[in-house]
Amino acid sequence: MHFNLTAEQQLLSDTVGRFLAKAYAFEARHKIVKSPEGWSREIWAQLAEMGLLALQVPEAHGGMAPAVVETLLTMTALGKALVVEPYLASAVLGTALVRDLGTPAQAEALLPALAAGEKIVVPAHGERGSRHDLSRVATAAARDGKGWVLRGRKSVVIHGQAADVLVVSARTAGAVDAAAGISLFLVPRDSKGLTVTGYRTFDNQRAAEVVLDGVALPGDALLGPEGGAFPGLSAAFDLGLAAICAEAVGSLQAALDTTIEYTKTRKQFGVPIAKFQALQHRMADMLIHVEQARSMSFLAAMKAASADAGERRRAVSAAKVVVGQACRFVGQQAVQLHGGMGVTDELAVSHHFKRLMAIELSLGDTEHHLEQFVAAGAGRPA
């Protein structure tokens, strides 16, 4: 066992970090999130150029997959800089779905373009009624000759508006909450009957409501087995969970760092407030949360692709629980220790607070993953 990085991995981490420190400083990010699209195609092109969009793309299609450690390092760097581009949505989740479930033709059509940053593919899965349940899908797909017709509504689809292709989950059989009977479809953004309404989220990312009002698709729009997409969907979301945990670690560390820095410079009662033991202990608790989260982000990364579904479930859900708790404690205390400055829009700390809150709610919240962990441990299907 070891936790060392190879020279190449260290180089990648340093390079991404340096790039973001320059291109994604607080002011630059502010401009990006206030722009009409809310994210930057220029940054996206640069991430592609650095090879970062190819990490989940198989070598056969010009990528580097599995690149587990590289993805972890990249996500942590993105988290530190509060990057809002569709990396998790497209370069991790969308890419993994196409890679793992696509036919050779689908893979060839999308993966090279994904790696090059020419196409954005994001999952449109969550629904208003599904909350955090991965298998609760009310959107329905009906056969229509050789093709399909989709009806339903997807909610808080991260980067739905940026997508060239949405990977829409829809039920082709089974009860509303059954894992069996879920199918995935590649839905081009310009499909008739598809309405995508984008908006800003609290953490200054972009999401969308997606309405499918009789969207007609050809037979080859089906991604993965008819009615049997759930295992692939679940595997991709576990990869996404590992990635978002790594992103959280970057943001958590940054929130702690900026708090330490602030308390060392802010003076009250004639001394830096970092001298007050009450605050020192608080920062020690923050550090413990960050390190526990970091450990679990490693575990999640290593186990996210495990063939043993039970082991994978326990590791990934446990990671999200530890990370979720860290997000809440560190986010809140970072703000608290900044005093009034912490609740303004002016410093990075409140933006980390908001992103950390959103991460806790994304891909299943703490309570959901506690349930998942318990269910997996009791030998019941996750």
Binding site: G126, R131, V343
Partner: protein, 396 residues
């Protein structure tokens, strides 16, 4: 010991409830119950309605036009008002500068300012904090130099709540720069329309504008606007801070928010069932509800002790800490209740713009959760409150 309210107190509660039922404007009420901002006009309108009824000063003595209610009646009034969705009364005049003027101001100041506070003719704001003086308030630097019949004021205040609507500010200023910390501070009443006063917005993390910087550049303040004695301002400030904290437990407001949380939890679904029937969520909700029950009794104990002693004591710090923790926990649970639906964000919703998405109740939750982080920072941060408890109660 008897924990029930007397028949007279119960009758009073009834009277307040029916008054609210009749007089509270429905549009205002809806905003408060939905967790949205009320407008300054709505706040003023409500104060004027109360004033007409003779209830403009719920915490004021009769001789100054107040109700003369004892602390228990004040508590009942606040609780009923909050539950019914009445806007929060502006504390800056009623709970802060008003009591200071009554206690330490001269008759001219009392006659000039107190009736205008009751009638909501003036909007006061609190000018204590400065960029360099937050928790360490006694280090304020804003300078007031006596020049004949006026003070010349120079300096900067910050975090001033709703100063953008205010026409008066009460400020802690340094009149004797050679004296040590607390000793050289005075308490000044400053007309915000005086030349040299500038208000600049500070945007908060929910993108709302509720705090401001207030700058003073050669502002001439007539000496008759000094409260009490020169260089004794710290005593008055401390008196005021005690009053600011008496209702900081916010029991009534938290009961209202608990009711909102329960409404939301009944409408949300988890695993296809109402969320309030989910054991894990129900347990978390109950935990906060129980904390609130305990705090209500603690609050009543403190009020009853205060009624005997006639002054707020250090126990107020306990109420502030626990009260704000409960407010924050409720806002957290509301976010958790709606899950990802809390994420779509449009700051205009807080000011009444219709939310673009369903359900409407989810739209303000993230902003409120973020915004309420302030409650453990302002009014003496919760860390400072713990310092007060350790020193004043524990004697450490």
């Amino acid at each position: 010991m008897d924990l029930s309210f007397t028949p007279a107190e119960q009758a009073f509660r009834q009277e307040v409830a029916s008054f609210l039922e009749k007089e509270l404007p429905p549009a205002t009420r809806k905003k408060v119950l939905d967790g949205l901002h009320v407008t300054p006009q709505e706040t003023i309108q409500w104060q004027k309605i109360l004033h007409r009824k003779g209830w403009g000063g719920p915490n004021w003595a009769k001789e100054f036009g107040g109700t003369g209610w004892d602390p228990v009646r004040q508590f009942i009034f606040e609780e009923e008002s909050a539950a019914a969705g009445a806007p929060r009364l502006l504390p800056f005049g009623l709970k802060m500068v008003g009591p200071v003027i009554m206690r330490f101001g001269n008759e001219a100041q009392q006659q000039r300012h107190l009736p205008r506070i009751l009638a909501a003719d003036d909007w006061w704001c609190q000018g204590y904090s400065e960029p360099g003086s937050g928790s360490d308030l006694a280090s304020v630097k804003t300078r007031a130099e006596r020049q004949g019949d006026h003070y010349l004021v120079n300096g900067q205040k910050t975090w001033i709540t709703l100063a953008q609507h205010a026409n008066w500010i009460f400020a802690l200023v340094r009149t004797d720069p050679s004296a040590k910390a607390q000793a050289g501070i005075s308490f000044l009443l400053i007309d915000m329309r005086t030349p040299g006063v500038t208000v600049r917005p500070i945007i908060m993390l929910d993108e709302g504008h509720e705090v401001n910087e207030v700058w003073f550049e050669d502002v001439k303040v007539p000496v008759e606007n000094l409260v009490g004695e020169e260089n004794k301002g710290w005593t008055y400030a401390k008196f005021l801070l005690g009053h600011e904290r008496t209702n900081i437990a916010g029991i009534g407001g938290s009961k209202r928010e608990l009711a909102r949380l329960k409404r939301i939890a009944a409408l949300e679904q988890k695993h296809g069932r109402p969320l309030d029937q989910d054991p894990a969520f129900a347990a978390r909700l109950a935990t906060v509800e129980i904390e609130l029950m305990a705090l209500e009794i603690t609050n009543l104990r403190v009020l009853s002790a205060e009624a005997e002693r006639r002054a707020p004591g250090p126990e107020a710090s306990l109420l502030k800490i626990k009260g704000t923790e409960i407010q924050q926990a409720l806002s957290e649970l509301m976010v958790q209740a709606v899950g990802p639906a809390a994420l779509p964000f449009d700051p205009a919703v807080m000011d009444g713009a219709p939310p673009a998405l369903d359900p409407a109740y989810a739209a303000p939750l993230a902003a409120t959760y973020g915004n309420l982080r302030k409650t453990s920072i302002y009014g003496g941060s919760n860390e400072i409150q713990k310092n007060i408890i350790t020193q004043m109660i524990l004697g450490l």
